[in-house]
């Protein structure tokens, strides 16, 4: 394990509940500064719930979540983002009553060195062209870019990204891959939820595999080829 000071996110013995249903059963994970780590698993394995629990968006939680050095279990949901974390939800969460630019400007800056609007529009020229359109009028790919761009502007240096490639055309998936590489170069810390490891394999440093609300396997980048078969079995590919 790397030094504590390098750690941007640590989750220990995290349990989470929706009403009476016990969804997460003691998650332990950590992400170091500048790392891109994936959270893999089949549908329903609890990956989205893990991200939402980190953001304090689920019902009841227990355990410990440390973000940028601060224990957050006791913090109200609106305090979490200000620790420098940005969340891109699976359903993308584009607001239909806001236009593209309003969506982009909605989340308040949480750190001072976020991307400017110009830089965002340079990275995603489509968003500039459609900046006055209603947010949900965009194509799925454009909505995904908007959801991502929105948190890049805030200056968050830890990103939680939930299935950002789901259901998108290959050309857009490729574009998103390039964006992730740029973000990595900027030394951002990324926890990426994916169904399988193919999208992130070339850029990820580590992979966690979830099943039934538990982490059942941790795979280093270097072990990937050796463990491909095991992963395929776990992920049901």
């Amino acid at each position: 394990m790397k030094a504590q000071g390098n750690e941007k996110l640590r989750v220990s013995d995290l349990h989470a509940f929706y009403g009476e249903s016990h969804i997460l059963h003691g998650i332990d994970l950590h992400v170091n500064q500048g790392e891109l780590v994936t959270l893999l698993g089949r549908n329903g394995s609890g990956r989205s719930t893990t991200l939402k629990a980190i953001m304090n968006m689920v019902g009841r939680r227990s355990g410990s979540i440390n973000i940028n050095g601060t224990e957050t279990m006791g913090l109200a949901a609106h305090r979490i983002a200000h620790l420098g974390i940005g969340f891109c939800p699976e359903e993308r969460g584009i607001f239909s009553s806001l236009n593209v630019e309003e969506n982009l400007l909605l989340p308040p800056a949480v750190r001072s060195d976020g991307m400017s609007l110009d830089e965002i529009y340079q990275m995603f020229p489509n968003l500039y062209e459609r900046r006055t359109s209603q947010g949900t009028r965009l194509s799925g790919g454009e909505q995904q870019m908007l959801a991502l761009a929105r948190i890049l502007r805030t200056g968050a240096n830890i990103l939680l990204l939930d299935e950002i490639t789901e259901g998108l055309a290959p050309v857009i998936v490729k574009k998103l891959g390039e964006v992730l590489i740029q973000l990595k170069r900027k030394n951002l810390t990324i926890l990426l939820v994916e169904q399988n490891f193919h999208f992130a394999a070339p850029i990820a440093d580590r992979h966690y595999v979830m099943e039934h609300g538990r982490i059942v396997e941790e795979v280093q980048q270097a072990e990937l080829s050796a463990k491909t078969e095991l992963l395929n079995t776990l992920l049901g590919v």
Partner: protein, 295 residues
């Protein structure tokens, strides 16, 4: 006065004016309800009682504390809004995680308690409140005589309604409100203090009722049941307009007032029920309301 094609223009304009004035109150009250509903997902049954309190505070202010109408117009909505904030913070929020039905029943209870207390303390007879001097008199519009105060009500409510609409549709704060109405949880995950926003929104929605109460004091008699009577109609209007849009609440409020006025002229027997008839028709054709989003 002459009639044209069997229509007496003076009487018609008179009823139209009454309709516009009633519509102004409908718009202010249903606007407040729509804003509150957007974030809290409850229909605030106390809105009528808070309108009544607004009128009473104006009357009390003038009777006992020498608070002029102009000041009442500024201060009373603030006081009523503050009162609303206390209601949200200490009564609604503690049960907000339960089914919304409980909060709705709670606001209904609050309305009954407030109305009961005011009846007990002030009796049920109407209190007179005279039109402030600077708004007395009548303007000759050529085709009709317009009592200045009535024109004032229409102008003030239109300005407040339009200003509110503008603030919600065109400003950053409004963007937060719209986003919170769609997905409060995600907005909060972005770092916005949504619980505080809910409290302030409730206060603002309720302050609109307080303002309507002050505007109403000089033309309707100030009495404990003035809000309850109005609120029944406003609910019908909310059903007609649907809870979907701020602009929809305003437009429906004013147009229902006008339709009511026109009915008073053309078929007075139906004037008390026309809005409810419209409600039934709308419910049959478009259950989510004219401006509501189908779910």
């Amino acid at each position: 006065m002459d009639t044209i094609l069997g229509i007496n223009p003076v009487a018609l304009f008179g009823q139209l004016l009454v309709g516009l004035i009633n519509g102004s109150f409908y718009a202010l009250l249903s606007l407040g309800l729509a804003i509150i509903f957007g974030l809290l997902r409850i229909i605030n049954f106390a809105q009528g009682a808070l309108y009544m309190i607004g009128a009473f505070l104006a009357w009390l202010g003038l009777e006992y504390w020498g608070l002029s109408y102009g000041w009442a117009l500024l201060i009373v909505p603030l006081v009523v809004g503050l009162f609303g904030i206390l209601i949200e913070r200490f009564l609604i929020r503690p049960i907000a995680h339960e089914d919304h039905l409980y909060s709705l029943l709670l606001t209904f209870g609050v309305a009954l308690v407030l109305q009961g207390v005011f009846s007990h303390v002030f009796g049920s007879s109407g209190k007179p409140y005279s039109i402030p001097e600077f708004l007395q008199g009548v303007a000759n519009l050529g085709f009709m005589y317009l009592p200045i105060y009535r024109g004032w009500i229409i102008v003030v409510s239109l300005l407040v309604c339009f200003g509110t609409w503008w603030a919600i549709e065109k400003t950053k704060l409004g963007a937060y409100l719209r986003a919170g109405t769609e997905n409060a949880r995600l907005l909060q995950a972005f770092g916005i203090n949504v619980p505080l926003m809910v409290t302030l929104t409730f206060g603002f929605g309720v302050a609109l009722a307080g303002l309507a109460g002050v505007l109403a004091a000089p033309i309707y008699s100030v009495s404990p049941d003035m809000g309850a009577n109005l609120l029944i109609v406003v609910f019908a209007i909310v059903v007609i307009g649907g809870m979907g849009s701020i602009g929809g609440a305003i437009i429906t409020g004013i147009s229902m007032g006008v339709i009511e006025g026109l009915t008073k002229y053309f078929y007075p027997e139906a004037s008390n029920t026309i809005i409810f008839m419209v409600m039934v028709v709308v419910l049959l054709i478009k259950p989510a309301g004219l401006f509501g989003k189908e779910v």
